[in-house]
Symmetry: C2
Subunit: 314 residues, 2 copies
C-alpha cells in the first residue's frame, strides 16, 4: 500500500491542526482530517476563510485549492496519505496511541510528522514499528501565515525522512530549519523564552514598564530581526572583518552584559505586576482585538518580505 502522491492526513483539528488543514488544502493538496470532537468542522471552515486571503497575499495559495475532508477516525484519514501531520495536544500517551493507529492503517512509506513544540522526537518515536519515518515538524502559529517550520529528527529518524520533509514543506512555500540535536522548545521557543526572561526581569525590578519594554522591541529591535538574525546583526557590527572583528573588539563587553542579565521567577508579585501593567498597556483593547491587529500587520510585513523586490538571498 502506498500513499497517493502528495496526499496529506492531519490528525487533530484543534487550533494547530485546523490551521494546518486549511494551509495544505489551499496549497492544493488533497487533505483528510481526523477529529472525532464537536466543533472540528466549524474550526476548519473558519480557518479556510481566514487562510485564503493570507495565502493569496503571501503567494502560497495553490492554483487548484482543495477542501479538507473531515473524518472521525485515524484509520479513515491516513489510508492513502503520503504525509501525516499530527497535531494533538501535548500528551505523550495520547500521541503514542494515535501513532499506533497510524502504523496500523497508513502506507509504510508515509512520513509521520508531529507538530509538538514541547516533546522530543526520540521520546515520541520510541516503540514505533517504523521510527525511521518519524520526525517533529513544528510550525509557528498560525501555520497558514508564518513561513517557519522547525524540523527535528530523533535518534531513530532516517536522514532521508528529514530531507523528504524539507522538500515537502519547501514546495509549499515554507522556510524550514533543521535541528542537529533535539532541544526542549526547539529553536523558536527557546529564543523567545530567552528574550522574555530579560523582559520580565526589567519589569520585575522596576527598570521599565511592560509597555516600554514591549516598545523597545516593536520600535527598535523587531524591524532589525525581521531582516537580520541575531548572529548576522553582530557580524554587521564588526566592520569589514565581520564576526571576527566584533568578537575581538566587543566580546568581553558582551560577556559583561550577559553576567548582568536577570534570572527572574514568576512569583506572585511578579505575576501581579505583569498582569496589571499589561492591562494598562492594552489600553482597553481585548486580547482578541490585539491579536487581530497583530495578524493584520504581521501579514503586511511578511507579504512585503515575500514580494518580488525582497532580499535576494537574505
Amino acid at each position: 500500500m502506498t500513499g497517493a502522491a502528495g496526499s496529506v492526513a492531519v490528525i487533530g483539528a484543534g487550533t494547530i491542526g485546523s490551521a494546518w488543514a486549511a494551509f495544505f488544502a489551499l496549497a492544493g493538496r488533497p487533505v483528510r482530517v481526523a477529529d472525532p470532537g464537536h466543533g472540528a468542522a466549524a474550526r476548519i471552515d473558519d480557518m479556510m476563510v481566514r487562510a485564503r486571503p493570507v495565502m493569496q497575499a503571501l503567494g502560497t495559495l495553490g492554483a487548484a485549492p482543495t477542501t479538507p475532508v473531515l473524518v472521525h477516525g485515524i484509520a479513515d484519514a491516513v489510508g492513502t496519505a503520503a504525509f501525516i501531520q499530527e497535531a494533538l495536544p501535548e500528551d505523550l500517551a495520547l500521541k503514542q496511541r494515535a501513532y499506533r493507529a497510524v502504523e496500523a492503517h497508513a502506507p509504510t512509506d508515509a512520513l509521520l510528522m508531529s507538530s509538538s513544540s514541547g516533546l522530543l522526537p526520540s521520546v515520541l518515536q520510541a516503540g514505533l514499528a517504523h521510527p525511521e519515518r518519524f520526525l517533529v515538524a513544528h510550525p509557528c502559529n498560525p501555520a497558514y501565515l508564518m513561513p517557519l517550520v522547525e524540523l527535528v529528527g530523533g535518534t531513530q529518524t532516517a536522514p532521508a525522512a528529514l530531507e523528504r520533509a524539507e522538500r515537502f514543506y519547501q514546495a509549499l512555500g515554507k522556510q524550514t530549519i533543521r535541528l542537529q540535536r533535539e532541544a526542549t522548545g526547539h529553536l523558536v521557543n527557546r529564543l523567545q523564552a530567552a528574550l522574555w526572561r530579560e523582559a520580565v526581569h526589567l519589569v520585575a525590578q522596576g527598570y521599565a514598564s511592560v509597555a516600554d519594554v514591549d516598545r523597545a522591541v516593536t520600535e527598535g529591535l523587531g524591524a532589525r530581526w525581521t531582516v537580520c538574525g541575531p548572529h548576522a546583526i553582530f557580524h554587521l557590527s564588526g566592520g569589514s572583518e565581520g564576526m571576527a572583528g566584533f568578537l575581538q573588539r566587543l566580546g568581553p563587553a558582551v560577556e559583561g552584559w550577559w553576567a548582568d542579565l536577570g534570572t527572574p521567577t514568576l512569583d506572585g508579585a511578579t505575576c501581579q505586576r505583569l498582569i496589571e501593567q499589561m492591562q494598562a498597556a492594552a489600553a482597553g483593547r481585548s486580547p482578541e482585538q490585539m491579536a487581530e491587529e497583530r495578524d493584520r500587520l504581521m501579514l503586511r510585513v511578511l507579504a512585503l518580505r515575500a514580494g518580488p523586490t525582497a532580499a535576494a538571498g537574505t
Copy 2:
C-alpha cells in the same frame, strides 16, 4: 543667555553623531556640529545623502530642511543651542571634559543629552554644575532610520528634563521609551544580549547552525516582534484572560524552559565556530553588502508600519 528655539548642537561627528546631525537638520532644526577631526565634513555630507530618502519614506523629513554647520570647538557649537546631543566615544573622562565646555558656553536652560549606550547617567552627570538638565538619550543605529530613543535620567536629573526630551524627540517623529531606573545597556542592548546569549548557546552546543538560528528569528520571530512586544505576545496566548490566563496555564512550563537556557562563554572554540558558520551563512556577501540589504529591507518594514493604515495605537 537662552537657546534659539529648537536649535540643536551635536558634539562629535563620528558614525552616531553625523547620523544625528543629518536627522535633526533634515527634520528642519538649525544644527551646529562640533568636531575638530579630519573626515567630519565628509561623514556628515554622506549621512545627509543617505538620510534624505529614508526620512522621506518614513514621513519624518521636515518641510524646510537645514544644512548642519560644522565647527571646530564645543564653545562655537553650543552658544545658542536649546538641545545638545553628545555623541562622543564611550570614554567617561572624554565626555566629562566635553560637558565642562558645554557648561561654560551653553545657555543654562539647554538640555544636555548623551547618546551613551554603555555609561550610566548618574555617573556621567557627577560633577556637573547643572546635572538636573542632563540625561541619556540613546538612539538605535542609524538615528535617521530607527524610530526608537531610550531616555534615562540619573539620580540628579529633573523630571521636567525627561519630559522636555520626550516632547523634543516625539515632535521629530521618534518613539521614546523611558527607563525608571538606570541599567547597563538600557533596554535595547540588554534584550539583544539576552537573545544572542541563547543563539550562541544553540550554536556552541551543536543544536543548530548559525544560519538556521538566524532564520528562526528572521522567518519566525522577527515579524511578530515588529508588531507585538514579548509581553504582549504571551498576553495574546492567554485567550480572553490574557496575561493572567497565560501565566496560570503556562507559567510553570516557561520557568522550565528558562532553567534549560544556556550560559555560554565566548571561548576560543565558540568564537571559531561562530566565525566559520557566519562566513558560511554569508555565502560570499561582504558585511557591507549585507548591511545595505538589511537597511533597504528594514526601511520597507518601518515605512510600512509608519503608513496611514498601520496599527492605530499598537
